[in-house]
């Protein structure tokens, strides 16, 4: 068994050297942390940067306001021309999904409206119609796949479309105004005392 007394001399020497009697030691924590100041500042600036980055993303991202294949304006249709929401989104009161009008429906109207027939955007519409291809609209109000949301129940309950979709009739390009998070749903359900509105399986699937 190795004993203290016959340890190699080198180690003993080092140990002695380390203990210097009378040495003055600064016990201040701040003093010890001083060299870290710049790094800390760097870190803080970095974190602030991240927050700013998130904000910039939120502010400038087109995710909530995507550019659609055709610059369709709800302001003109729903605002100026006072077309009922349900005229185009015709299954909103009878189906979970509100539905987008078929290309045929768009063309049906636009064939007859002489004033706008030749605008660039209508030309795009006509191009789709000529090719018999659907228009790949980008979904703005997209809930995750595990959510069961039914337009029908909400429309039949008397909710205005604008309550969730915002003042659509003033938007040129459609934009998501509600955050569509779970508390956003449940707050409204709580407030309106819906039947079993807080049961998870009302919305989850």
């Amino acid at each position: 068994m190795l004993s203290v007394h016959n340890r190699p001399p080198k180690i003993q020497a080092i140990a002695k050297q380390e203990f210097r009697e009378g040495v003055r030691v600064n016990v201040s924590v701040l003093e010890a942390l001083k060299p870290l100041r710049k790094s800390a500042l760097l870190g803080i600036i970095g974190i602030v940067g991240i927050v700013v980055g998130l904000k910039i993303n939120a502010a400038y991202s087109t995710h909530l306001k995507p550019v659609q294949p055709i610059e369709f304006s709800h302001r003109i249709h729903a605002g100026e021309n006072q077309i009922e929401c349900l005229y185009c989104h015709s299954s909103a009161d009878r189906s979970p999904s509100a539905g987008v009008p078929s290309v045929a429906k768009c063309v049906g109207c636009h064939e007859r409206i002489a004033t706008v027939r030749d605008s660039a955007e209508i030309a795009k519409l006509n191009a789709y119609w000529q090719a018999q291809e659907p228009i790949p609209w980008i979904k703005v109000h997209d809930v995750p796949d595990f959510v069961h949301f039914t337009h029908k129940r909400h429309v039949l309950a008397g909710l205005e479309c604008q309550q969730c979709h915002g003042p659509v009739e003033t938007m040129d390009r459609i934009e998501r105004v509600a955050d569509l998070t779970m508390p956003w749903c449940t707050d409204c359900h709580t407030l309106n005392q819906t039947d079993n509105g807080l049961d998870c399986y009302t919305c989850h699937k």
């Binding site: 068994m1 140990a15 030691v25 016990v27």
Partner: protein
């Protein structure tokens, strides 16, 4: 107070204590780095890599199945939680009862607690199916506005382990503050700066000692019931189910006893390594191994008793489910493991009745490792022989760990070793000031 002979090779001087301990911290040879590199390497290869693979693929990488949805990960979790039990608990109990022999071993025992607890917590993360959502089980504000279910035994566990981890780290840290100051005084440059921060600018004034003494005692008082509750709660994860073999009233004391048992054996192993590799022969001596040996014998007997009771209650119930499960445990596929556990944990410890065994470090090392092998098997058996024998015979199954699970188990030991290797270079592995307390005041003036 009657002073027992704490030091085998005569009492060191005060200064010597400082030198011996700090040397172990500061002097780092190539062997240490090689060892550290090895353990880190094993941790990465055996633990991190399979774990990442599992996260990518799904828990199916492990060998669990529909009939045994819990497996090695969970049994390892109990093992490591168990191993964590004696450090803090022993340290706290002995602190309260003012047993001096504790003083040179408690630091590393507490470190063992902390690190095995960390490894245990890692196993929880390895175990869950969707690690990326594990924060949902913490009571922290979240965007869904939905909180965890505090009626769940798993939540008891989350709370208990969080508390235990917090309390244990504070406990070991607070006890180390004066020693950090000592290291600070012995070092220069960056290390001094680090230890200045770590020691909070400790000076050892009477006020500081006084407050530390009080605070430390409160920590000890709070930690003892906590430690008992933690392993009881871990046992309830099992016992609150309806699975034959898990739904046992005796589980809480069984787990607590087993935990202290394996933890104490773990301490012996760690002590051996400290003596052997860090040169603490002077501080860790016969009295420690003797007392720990006696403690182990006592624990082994309690453990054996509870094991017999477990079999007895199962058999006495007359319930077909219980008996079927007992049959599987005693004579089924994992029977050799069960009997190995009985041999290692019930019979081998009896050797320690002989003083010649108890006072021999090498023999004690072997026994302590055997006990922990036995305890690792115990936890594995609890999971792998109960779950496949639940209540519906048609759903009887079988569980065998997959290579990933075995590898992660091996890796967890390497991870523990890594943490411990880092610990001995950061924390004074033997408490400087408490060892000094046990010394004859006259030796204080002596120079080496």
């Amino acid at each position: 107070m009657v002073m027992k002979k704490l030091f085998d090779h005569g009492e060191p001087s005060y200064e010597q204590v400082n030198q011996d301990v700090i040397k172990s911290l500061i002097e780092t040879g190539p062997k240490y780095w090689m060892l550290l590199a090895t353990t880190v390497g094993i941790t990465v290869v055996c633990f991190i890599v399979p774990w990442m693979y599992q996260i990518h693929m799904g828990v199916g990488v492990a060998g669990m199945n529909r009939n045994a949805v819990w497996g090695t990960y969970l049994s390892n979790f109990i093992f490591w939680i168990g191993l964590s039990h004696s450090g803090t608990l022993l340290s706290a109990v002995l602190h309260i009862t003012q047993s001096d022999w504790r003083k040179s071993i408690y630091r590393s025992a507490e470190a063992m607690t902390l690190f095995s607890l960390m490894v245990a917590a890692t196993f929880v993360m390895v175990h869950v199916g969707r690690l990326w959502f594990i924060h949902w089980s913490f009571p922290i504000p979240n965007p869904m506005g939905l909180w965890p279910n505090f009626r769940s035994p798993i939540m008891f566990d989350v709370m208990a382990i969080t508390t235990y981890l917090t309390a244990s780290s504070i406990f070991i840290y607070m006890g180390s503050v004066p020693d950090f100051a000592a290291v600070r005084d012995y070092s220069s440059g960056l290390r001094r700066r680090i230890y200045t921060v770590l020691s909070f600018g400790w000076r050892g004034t009477s006020k500081e000692w006084h407050t530390l003494g009080w605070a430390y005692t409160f920590f000890a008082v709070l930690v003892i019931p906590l430690a008992v509750s933690v392993h009881s709660i871990v046992s309830w994860d099992f016992a609150l189910s309806t699975v034959p073999g898990l739904h046992q009233t005796i589980f809480a004391p069984y787990f607590v006893c087993g935990a202290i048992y394996s933890g104490t054996a773990g301490i012996v192993t760690v002590m051996y390594c400290l003596r052997r590799f860090l040169g603490f022969e002077r501080y860790i001596g016969k009295i420690h191994v003797d007392y720990l040996g006696k403690l182990l014998i006592a624990l082994s007997m309690i453990w054996t008793y509870i094991n017999i009771m477990e079999l007895f209650t199962g058999w006495y119930s007359g319930s077909s489910a219980e008996i079927e499960f007992l049959k599987f445990r005693l004579f089924g596929f994992y029977a050799p493991m069960y009997w190995e556990m009985i041999l290692f944990c019930a019979f081998v410890p009896l050797l320690m009745l002989f003083k010649s065994v108890r006072l021999n470090w090498n023999r004690m090392l072997v026994i302590s490792i055997l006990i922990n092998i036995g305890m690792l098997s115990e936890r594995f058996i609890i999971v792998s022989t109960s779950l496949p024998r639940k209540l519906l015979p048609d759903s009887y199954g079988f569980y065998f760990p997959s290579p990933a699970e075995i590898s992660i188990t091996v890796g967890s030991f390497a991870m523990f070793a890594t943490l411990f290797l880092i610990f001995i270079k950061v924390f004074p592995a033997v408490s400087i000031y408490e060892v000094k307390e046990t010394l004859n005041p006259l030796r204080r003036a002596e120079k080496t």
